[in-house]
């Protein structure tokens, strides 16, 4: 039998190798697995939703009245790639719907998937890791492709935010970002 640098008894070597393979498998599944996973979602555009109110006509009949004037796109920007190997495309919009609620909406959205990635609104001039870590966290990315809405917390002032950032919290990596410009529409 040729000599080996690793002469371990089988009852040490076999469990050690098994544990090593299991550890690598867990690492591969948690780090690389999400990379190939795609989640598609198509949510309704808040701009097309309508709010209704009730009015009473001169005859005393109560009828619903559609309110559409309040719905507007406040800011928008195009998604661009983040750090090397991380891509994003589509449009990010901050929309005030007819009820006055604020929504960040991604349209024709596609982003590289990964572990523990979040949607962040950031105030900084650059879509950096620092800006992402200190930004307004809208929650985990719910879909990698499609048209997706994220509610902004009540009382948020959307005018202070300059960027939308898709950010991996665990590994502090910017996956994609969009610079928000005030919308004229």
């Amino acid at each position: 039998m040729p000599s080996s640098p690793f002469r371990l008894p089988w009852f040490v070597g076999a469990p050690a190798v098994s544990a090593g393979i299991a550890a690598v498998a867990i690492a591969v599944q948690s780090l690389v697995g999400p990379y190939f996973e795609r989640i598609y979602l198509n949510e309704a555009d808040p701009l097309t939703s309508v709010a209704t109110t009730s009015v009473t006509d001169p005859a005393g009949t109560v009828r619903p009245e559609v309110v559409v004037a309040a719905a507007a796109t406040l800011a928008q920007g195009s998604l661009r790639d983040g750090e090397p190997g991380h891509n994003g495309r589509g449009t990010a919009k901050i929309i005030r719907d007819a009820s006055g609620a604020l929504t960040l909406r991604f349209e024709n959205f596609s982003v590289t998937n990964g572990p523990d990635i979040y949607v962040i609104l950031a105030t900084g001039e650059e879509p950096s890791r620092t800006a992402a870590s200190g930004g307004l966290n809208l929650g985990k990315v719910r879909a990698t492709d499609g048209n997706v809405n994220y509610q902004l917390p009540a009382g948020t002032d959307p005018s202070v935010y300059r960027h939308v950032i898709i950010w991996c919290k665990t590994y502090d990596v910017v996956f994609a970002s969009a610079r928000l410009e005030k919308s004229t529409s």
Binding site: P5, F6, W10, I21, V28, V32, G33, F36, P84, G85
Partner: protein
């Protein structure tokens, strides 16, 4: 990592089946894994997954090319490790579980063949982990070269 000898019950289990049977298991598992990789390339819609499946399939296929004696034992084990860990990376996709299972089968067959050769199992074990390293290189290369 470990030495498979007559006193080792794992080696004894491996020796219960003849070497040609283990060789058939290793070869068959790798051929099927190549087919699964190519199938992933043709059935998935995400470009990076398509490329990943195709590259894994081609790399496993390369393990059948005649090799120098120095690497003849380790290359099939690397291919087995590549299938095993690529399958684990694709577990959420159709084709991932079969790929991982075929990789595990091929890996076990390569370890069993070590016992038949009365040789240390460590080159095969190193090959399995080498497969994980090779898969990582493939993933990084795809990330940098294929938009997705």
């Amino acid at each position: 990592m470990t030495t498979l000898g007559a006193q080792n019950p794992l080696a004894a289990a491996a020796l219960r089946a003849p070497a040609p049977s283990w060789r058939k298991v290793s070869v068959s598992a790798r051929i099927l894994a190549t087919a699964v990789g190519i199938a992933v390339a043709f059935t998935q819609s995400y470009e990076r997954t398509q490329v990943f499946g195709a590259v894994i399939g081609v790399l496993v296929l390369i393990s059948f090319v005649p090799q120098p004696a120095a690497v003849r034992r380790i290359i099939p084990a690397i291919a087995a490790g590549l299938c095993l860990f690529a399958g684990i990376a694709l577990l959420s996709q159709r084709g991932g579980a079969p790929l991982a299972t075929l990789g595990a089968l091929a890996g076990l067959a390569e370890l069993a063949l070590s016992a038949h050769r009365r040789q240390s199992a460590w080159p095969s074990v190193a090959g399995l982990f080498g497969g994980a390293a090779l898969m990582s290189v493939v993933v990084v290369a795809i990330a940098l070269r294929v938009e997705g």
